[in-house]
Symmetry: C2
């Protein structure tokens, strides 16, 4: 883990994956699952669960970023709705390392790969080995 280190991952989710997340957590709110219902909301079409979208960070931090890190904290702002079959980039940046405590603060951002507009912004704290 090094200061200013970054990692970017391109991803998209299908409606089927959103349905699986809904089943898994029990969050079957129709705004995520039902195109007809979603059309009546401000979003106009089904949106990905915010909490599902940020699963990309547990993937990056848990598999691309060394072994044995412990997830201490995470915060998120959900800035814009996210949609299925849409390309996003998840980018993490190591912004602070506290060697004494073995803690790292990591900026966690998702943005639309096309418009570059941020959809999620937040920070993770990890304890490294």
């Amino acid at each position: 883990m090094e200061l200013n280190q970054t990692y970017t991952h391109e991803f998209q989710y299908s409606q089927e994956q959103v349905n699986t997340y809904a089943q898994l957590t029990g969050d079957t709110n129709p705004v995520h699952l039902n195109a007809e219902f979603a059309a009546t909301t401000v979003f106009k079409r089904p949106i990905i669960h915010g909490m599902f979208s940020v699963g990309v960070f547990t993937m990056i931090l848990g598999t691309k970023f060394g072994e044995g890190n412990i997830y201490l904290k995470q915060n998120f702002e959900f800035l814009r709705p996210m949609f299925v079959d849409t390309l996003y980039h998840a980018k993490i940046t190591v912004v602070e390392i506290i060697e004494k405590k073995k803690h790292a603060r990591i900026e966690t951002i998702i943005y639309d790969a096309t418009t570059k507009k941020q959809t999620v912004r937040g920070e993770a704290w990890l304890q490294f080995p």
Copy 2:
């Protein structure tokens, strides 16, 4: 939505559900999936992805707590590891309502149903209709 309103949900996850979350997000870190590997870590047995455990709040806030809420923010501290086939309670409490902005701040806690020890502590901000 009323000040001091609470909702508690009892839940547990199976190893199969953890495996599904791992597949869905790509976080296949063996600490979540492989009992032999997990035995070599400080946790001794497989732990649930922190980010999966907090999916319980999107379920509560998205299906038990009225329709049309928009998830604005969430923060979490992961205080203790969580294990499969273990009963937990997820409890939310409305701690602040800002009528002018239609925002609500909601305490989000998970604790072990047996020991009562907290495993996750955080806050959500919702915009209500």
